[in-house]
């Protein structure tokens, strides 16, 4: 995936994470996962997914959802589904 496209996705995700976790200091990196962020539970996970779906007009399928373990996974799936990968 091009680094430009990846940067765009990270920027969009940062906005979403800011609103979901009400934190402006959260730095997104590929390895970041639920265990690193307080209150990132299964509900917040669903909020993030739905916000991403709305933002990009895409829909994750169940297998894709099961494959998400960290921010890097999320960026990869978004890139794949939006044709920027």
């Amino acid at each position: 995936m091009s680094s430009m496209a990846e940067a765009d996705i990270y920027a969009a995700l940062s906005e979403i994470f800011r609103d979901v976790f009400l934190r402006d200091d959260l730095q997104l990196r590929p390895e970041l996962s639920a265990k690193d962020v307080q209150s990132w539970d299964s509900f917040k996970q669903i909020d993030i997914i739905l916000a991403v779906e709305e933002k990009y007009g895409i829909k994750f399928n169940t297998r894709e959802l099961d494959s998400l373990h960290n921010v890097g996974d999320l960026v990869r799936v978004i890139a794949g589904k939006t044709g920027t990968g």
């Binding site: 800011r18 979901v20 509900f43 669903i46 909020d47 739905l50 916000a51 709305e54 959802l65």
Partner: protein, 629 residues
């Protein structure tokens, strides 16, 4: 569509959210303002979390309403809906505390008096049983007899839940209809397959309406919303499998809206009046420039038909009790001309209770409408195609609802309906004739202006006050008045149907409903009084409320005569009158002293207790003739 598209976007939303409650800024008003912007589910959750942090989880002092304790009793996961319910309450100035049963345990908790549900003591119960749960045991292999048996069982269980909740908490019960989540197995004629889960839920949702009406339960009709918005907007099978969420989190803001509307309606806080702009809102074109013949209205053009359809919707609203008003920048004569002369006008001058057309700014004119109709600014909805006027009114009068209606008349009606401003739970006879009552008021005003002294005015009104004890027939109207009257209300105690029935059954209490008729028409039930014996000698006036429409007509002293009679019949020697101050009832703070009561106690917060000696009481003579119904 589940988005709250009628609410305005706030450009500086994030900054204002971050600033909420910081540096001693007043948090509640700002929180209400933020809630009245276009929130998606992420922003809804963010606001809820911030409000909780800013207010520390306790209702603010300035809260004008009674906090609501809402128990969600469901068969699926509802935790993701709490924030949206609270925020939708916040949007209407309601404070909602939520309890949700442990997953799947609604029945156990309802039947166990030592459960956390009983400890919570809800003031409203919402029952939400999902389609998977309700259709357990169904299958296409079943014949009619078995399917009917399961149908009867499901109905019976639902009714039993309603009964248990009612008896345990003596509070209103709301039932959420199940979403029709099952895919069809037969197709167009699904109903011919007795064991079809989909057909079963459809049938149940039809039956629920009449069961709920019989049992006095209100519907939360998410099935109807899903039919309009598309099931996909409301239910995501992937999320059902993952988290057992019947309602998708994306639909949570709308779900919260539907609940908060019902709660507000039951507190009498639905909007009461639709204030309409004229040019390019009710007709196409500008009457002052284009003249009668130049207006786009009526058959022959798509735009003209759209305006007719919108007028028709406004008239439909008025026939169920919504007051219509006009607020237009126009010369009054020009503004009136279409109402009087245009053949395609659906709305006539008589449909409009308050007609304000001049060149003052719209905020001042909307204030004038509220004053003329004697209703609060927060019960007005203002519709204007012009974004400049909308934002001006929002800025000057933030308590007035101003929907983002856009500029296409074809969408006006749906937008107002989607926004749910006028949510109602019942339509009474008073609602149906409300506009006529306001017309009567105008005629009374004209008469008042034509006679010289108050006495001859009151005499010429030929008033008759008819009183009745509380009865089943008037129950709905009694409950409606008790829950919606804010200004002329001495104690603002809110009672449910159950509470009112309890007064009817109590031999040491009375409930009076008063109707006022005069030469200009029937004003309907205009006052309610509840008295309760407190000791052998004292009768406490627990509730005294009156419609502001009949102020200054000597109804108060006439009512006191009736109260004194009823109290003496119970053996009372003294009347006790209480005043409990709220944000809105300042007008009655001296009510009892004006009627000759002596103040016994006065609290720092403004409350007072006054007494009237019945052994020496002399009934006032008034221009009102009193009759028992």
């Amino acid at each position: 569509m589940t988005s709250l598209y009628w609410l305005p976007e706030l450009a500086d939303w994030r900054e204002r959210l971050r600033g909420l409650g910081k540096n001693g800024a007043p948090a509640w008003g700002e929180a209400v303002a933020l809630a009245n912007s276009r929130l998606d589910f992420i922003r809804t959750n963010a606001l809820d979390q911030t409000v909780a942090a800013a207010l520390g989880g306790t209702p603010p002092k300035e809260l004008a309403t009674k906090p609501i304790r809402l128990a969600l009793l469901g068969s699926s996961t509802m935790a993701h809906l709490h924030a949206a319910i609270r925020v939708a309450g916040l949007r209407r100035g309601l404070w909602i505390e939520i309890y949700e049963n442990d997953y799947g345990q609604y029945w156990q908790e309802l039947t166990d008096q030592s459960s956390a549900l009983y400890e919570f003591q809800p003031t409203t119960v919402l029952l939400a049983l999902d389609a998977y749960h309700l259709s357990a045991g169904l299958g296409t292999g079943l014949g009619t007899t078995d399917a009917d048996h399961l149908f009867g069982e499901a109905n019976g269980r639902i009714r039993e839940c309603w009964r248990l909740a009612r008896e345990a908490f003596r509070c209103p019960v709301i039932h959420q209809t199940p979403l029709p989540v099952h895919p069809a197995v037969l197709g167009n004629n699904e109903h011919r397959l007795p064991g079809s889960r989909r057909a079963f839920i459809g049938r149940l949702n039809r039956e629920l309406r009449s069961m709920a009406d019989e049992d006095g339960v209100d519907m939360l009709a998410v099935d109807a919303r899903a039919a309009a918005d598309g099931l996909k907007a409301w239910h995501d099978p992937a999320l059902w499998h993952r988290a057992k969420q019947e309602i998708s989190p994306a639909a949570a803001p709308m779900y919260g809206e539907l609940i908060a509307r019902l709660l507000a309606a039951k507190q009498g806080r639905s909007s009461k009046c639709l204030v309409l702009d004229l040019d390019n809102t009710l007709w196409g074109g500008v009457i002052g420039d284009d003249g009668l013949a130049g207006l786009v209205l009526g058959q022959g053009s798509a735009l003209g038909e759209a305006f007719v359809a919108f007028q028709d919707y406004a008239r439909e609203l008025s026939r169920r009790g919504v007051i219509l008003a006009v607020c237009s920048k126009n010369d009054e004569a020009n503004a009136l001309e279409p109402f009087e002369q245009h053949p395609e006008m659906v709305l006539k001058r008589n449909d409009v209770a308050s007609f304000v057309a001049n060149w003052s700014d719209k905020a001042s004119n909307i204030r004038a409408v509220a004053e003329e109709l004697n209703i609060g600014l927060d019960s007005l909805v203002f519709v204007d195609d012009n974004p400049f006027e909308r934002s001006l009114v929002r800025r000057e009068l933030p308590m007035v609802a101003v929907p983002e209606v856009g500029d296409d008349p074809a969408t006006f009606a749906q937008t107002i309906a989607d926004a749910g401003y006028f949510e109602g739970v019942a339509v009474t006879e008073e609602d149906r004739v409300r506009t006529e009552q306001y017309q009567g008021n105008r005629q009374r005003e004209q008469l008042k202006a034509s006679v010289t002294d108050l006495g001859s005015y009151l005499r010429s009104l030929e008033m008759q006050l008819t009183w009745r004890r509380f009865d089943k027939l008037g129950l709905q109207r009694t409950v409606q008045l008790i829950n919606k009257t804010n200004q002329f209300n001495l104690t603002t105690r809110r009672y449910s149907e159950e509470d009112v029935v309890a007064v009817m059954d109590d031999p040491s209490a009375f409930g009076l409903q008063l109707r006022l008729v005069d030469r200009f028409g029937d004003n309907g039930i205009i006052a309610i009084v509840i008295g309760k014996m407190q000791s052998d000698d004292d009768l406490l006036i627990d509730t005294w409320l009156m419609s502001c429409r009949v102020l200054g007509r000597q109804v108060e002293p006439t009512t006191l005569n009736l109260v004194a009679d009823a109290a003496k019949r119970l053996g009372a020697r003294r009347l006790l009158g209480e005043y409990l101050p709220t944000k809105k009832n300042g007008m009655v703070k001296d009510h009892y002293t004006k009627l000759g009561f002596a103040v016994l106690e006065r609290g720092d917060d403004g409350r007072s207790l006054s007494a009237l000696d019945l052994t020496t009481f002399v009934p006032a003579s008034t221009f009102i003739e009193v009759k028992q119904a």
